[in-house]
């Protein structure tokens, strides 16, 4: 039963068969390289699009209960590592677009939240979200998806705690530390209808934003899937290369893509013999750190703290990658 849900409902294997039959009827040879690429491309684009729309709706509905104002209040009630854990968890459900990261950072800091808690929130937020959990389940299976999320949360909690311990409060931009504003805006009460409307709007806007990344991601995936020799990928990202994880992480850091665009690339690499931990490192690196978000963050924190933040994220991602590679034989 669990297998049926994973393969047919979440994985939509029937869709692949359907597209294969359709292409064959149209006279396309799906065992050829071009035919195979076309099949992979169509199947993956449709699958990810359908999952994305359903997921974003459900997730946005949940997120409408956790505007940043409310998350800030909840985090304020916890102390010590508990606050970091809550911060990391709330990071996964609080909605915000990248340009809100500084206002959120400032809002949290000026409300007196510890710096480490804010960073736990900021690390987990792009790396782990509910959407990635379900999408990972459909592609890599439940165990790997849950482990990915748990590992992401662990990095966020540890990263935040380390930053806390380093006492880098003086590394926050002066205008934030000196800001006197603690204007408390109450989050508006929403009815179920408001939330549904909000969720629908999120689906439309997210779809518009993410769809190009999906096309690019699946396109690259299709190329890898059918054109790149397995031996190349095995040599670079497989067990033959002890530096695969580090390489994947460093390549992924400056790249910016949504998790929905990253997953098809990961899927194709995995099927071609790349190691699981190496791929997960790549995904985490792409989604967590990106040039645009770092440029944003640079306005709010000083270089030393920014450097520490980047170093902690990279170290965490690399450790998780090697960890996964070490225990991968238990999972696949």
């Amino acid at each position: 039963m669990g297998r049926f849900i994973q393969e047919q409902v979440l994985g939509m294997k029937w869709l692949n068969t359907l597209i294969g039959n359709l292409l064959t009827t149209l006279g396309v040879d799906i065992s050829s390289k071009i035919g195979g690429s076309v099949q992979f491309f169509l199947y993956d684009v449709i699958k990810i699009t359908v999952l994305l729309c359903i997921l974003i709706f459900g997730i946005s509905y949940i997120q409408s209960f956790f505007p940043p104002e409310r998350s800030r209040k909840i985090m304020g009630r916890f102390h010590g590592i508990g606050a970091n854990i809550v911060g990391a968890l709330l990071g996964t459900v609080t909605p915000f677009c990248s340009c809100s990261s500084i206002p959120i950072f400032m809002g949290f800091t000026s409300a007196g939240l510890p710096l480490g808690v804010t960073f736990s929130f900021l690390i987990s937020s792009p790396m782990v979200d509910l959407g990635s959990l379900v999408l990972l389940m459909s592609i890599f299976g439940t165990k790997i998806a849950i482990l990915y999320v748990v590992m992401g949360l662990v990095i966020a909690v540890i990263g935040g705690t380390v930053i806390e311990k380093l006492h880098m409060e003086d590394q926050v931009a002066d205008f934030i530390r000196n800001s006197q504003s603690s204007v408390d805006i109450e989050a508006p009460d929403l009815t179920a209808r408001d939330r549904a409307i909000y969720a629908k709007e999120q689906v439309v806007s997210t779809f518009k934003k993410v769809f190009p990344y999906i096309l690019i991601g699946v396109g690259i995936g299709a190329i890898i899937h059918n054109w790149i020799p397995e031996s190349w990928i095995e040599a670079v990202l497989g067990s033959n290369n002890p530096f695969g994880v580090i390489l994947a992480t460093l390549v992924g850091v400056p790249m910016y893509a949504d998790i929905f665009g990253t997953i098809p690339v990961a899927e194709a690499l995995l099927s071609k013999g790349a190691l699981l931990g190496t791929i997960l490192s790549f995904m985490m690196a792409v989604t967590t750190l990106s040039l645009p978000s770092l440029i944003m963050l640079k306005k709010a924190i000083k270089p030393k703290l920014l450097g520490t933040f980047i170093a902690i994220c990279i170290a965490g991602i690399i450790i998780v990658g090697y960890g996964f590679n070490a225990i991968a034989y238990l999972l696949v």
Binding site: C99, I102, P103, M106, S179, S181, I185, Y198, M296, K299
Partner: protein
């Protein structure tokens, strides 16, 4: 009437600015919509979710791209 749109220059912030301009034109209000991107100024309103809409110094919406029709109701 003083109308401001707060945002950091991302797409949704610009969308709200355009919608606000449209709403102002529809209602025939004679005022210039200000677009605030300076973080220090934005912080002084205490909002954390971008984009936000401020009417006469009061935050009336945050974290949402409103449609011109909804903005007209808020003005």
């Amino acid at each position: 009437m003083n109308i401001k749109v707060l945002g950091a220059g991302c797409k949704s912030c610009e969308a709200l600015l355009n919608a606000t301009n449209e709403a102002v034109a529809n209602k025939g209000i004679n005022t210039e919509v200000e677009y605030i991107t300076d973080m220090e100024k934005i912080m002084s309103y205490g909002v954390m979710s971008m984009p936000a809409l401020v009417v006469d110094g009061k935050v009336v919406s945050a974290g949402k791209v409103l449609k011109p029709k909804d903005i007209e109701k808020l003005l």
